[in-house]
């Protein structure tokens, strides 16, 4: 088998069965024969769609990190939770390791991810920077498992349940920003898979 022939093959990420790729019509999805896991999609106008969506995701990320996510009140004193400043209290209490881990997982990595995503799509639309895009796409794959923003949202809800009865709780603007960001982020990383972007990369810089 030649190298070109390998391009026509795909291996299921869940059960590692080898399949031959077929050309899909319209916006359809190919599933694995063995375990019915998604193999690949055919998106319409993926280049433009992903660029527009990544910009929207970046905007919602800025909304989610600029204002208070939740505010609580005990005896007339308000305290707010903002995404970039979660580590401040942890550092004040000298929990450097947890502080660093938490702020990386919920702020630094999601931010890097979305900023790099926007760059990738912008460069692909301009059809320049082949090698830069390759490196960025590899980095995106590395960062992906460490983006835990959706788990953070569940944690917010759990924390609020623990506070019910002790404090008055108010949702801030960023709470809704955070939900919008997470929905778009899930769409960008789950519906558009990195492998789809790699196929697009192949097409763009051939």
């Amino acid at each position: 088998m030649k190298e070109i022939a390998l391009d026509k093959l795909i291996i299921c990420s869940e059960c590692h069965t080898v399949h031959r790729k077929i050309r899909l019509k319209d916006a359809k999805t190919a599933y694995c024969d063995e375990c019915e896991n998604v193999l690949y999609h055919r998106h319409d106008n993926l280049k433009e769609k992903a660029f527009a969506l990544s910009l929207a995701t970046l905007i919602t990320f800025l909304t989610a990190s600029s204002f208070a996510i939740v505010k609580i009140e005990i005896n007339g004193v308000w305290h707010a939770l903002t995404l970039p400043f979660v580590f401040v209290t942890l550092f004040k209490e000298e929990f450097f390791v947890v502080g660093l881990i938490v702020s990386f997982l919920i702020f630094v990595i999601p931010m890097l991810y979305i900023v790099m995503y926007v760059f990738v799509m912008a460069l692909m639309n301009l059809k320049t920077g082949r090698e830069t895009v390759r490196k960025l796409l590899v980095t995106l794959a590395m960062l992906r498992p460490w983006n835990m923003i959706e788990i953070f949202l569940i944690s917010i809800l759990v924390a609020l349940v623990k506070l019910i009865g002790y404090a008055q709780i108010e949702f801030g603007v960023s709470f809704w920003g955070l939900i919008a960001f997470i929905l778009l982020d899930i769409y960008l990383t789950k519906a558009i898979r990195l492998a789809d972007l790699w196929d697009l990369w192949d097409e763009t810089y051939r």
Partner: protein
């Protein structure tokens, strides 16, 4: 269309491109990333990360994860203690989420990884497809055990009052590190070792 292939093929974990398996280091032909290392090395690394994580599991559960300071009175809460008090207050769904995320998920991950690592050396009856699925599940559920650490971080940020404050306990550090190390153990596990096992089974048959 499903295919049966004679030559050994593997998918690049970074870009999904299909590559030939040389058995040693593999540099992906599309993304040029060194995607597979020497098998013996990644096997040892996976064990090391897993053992570290398992050791950290003990301080993570024995020490308090959350400390509540109320005037002069200080009270520490372990993970299990937190679940019990949530249950007693009637927050059953939340108690179940925490129980699942902080107690079951780490144990299930340990058992799955132990099984996969041992099954590389000892021939087991389980099919290669099942093992790959098991590995896939381990990767998916891994990050969800971070819930407890995040909850502590959020509570510590919000509850900072003169007469009542919440501070993170020692267990939060141990727990966060434990999750990171189990994830690293899963990431350094070389999925080719499952394939390797299968090809041996086929030779015998």
């Amino acid at each position: 269309m499903k295919l049966t292939v004679k030559s050994k093929l593997i998918a690049c974990p970074v870009c999904d491109a299909v590559n030939y398996d040389t058995g040693a280091e593999v540099v992906c032909r599309r993304c040029r990333h060194r995607v597979y290392h020497e098998q013996a090395k990644s096997y040892a690394r996976s064990w090391a990360f897993l053992i570290t994580a398992m050791i950290l599991y003990f301080p993570a559960n024995l020490y308090p994860i959350l400390i509540t300071r109320q005037l002069s009175h200080t009270q520490g809460n372990t993970i299990i203690g937190g679940i019990i008090s949530l249950w007693e207050h009637g927050s059953y769904p939340i108690a179940l989420i925490i129980l699942f995320a902080s107690v079951f998920v780490p144990i299930v991950k340990f058992i799955m990884l132990l099984y996969l690592l041992i099954a590389v050396k000892i021939d087991t009856k389980a099919s290669k497809v099942d093992k790959h699925k098991l590995f896939y599940i381990t990767e998916i559920i891994g990050p969800w055990s971070m819930v407890d650490v995040f909850v502590v971080a959020i509570l510590a940020t919000l509850v900072q009052y003169t007469y009542v404050s919440i501070i993170p306990g020692v267990a939060s550090t141990a727990f966060a590190l434990m999750v990171i190390f189990t994830m690293l153990a899963a990431h350094s596990f070389d999925t080719r070792m499952i394939l390797h096992n299968r090809s041996e089974e086929e030779k015998e048959a």
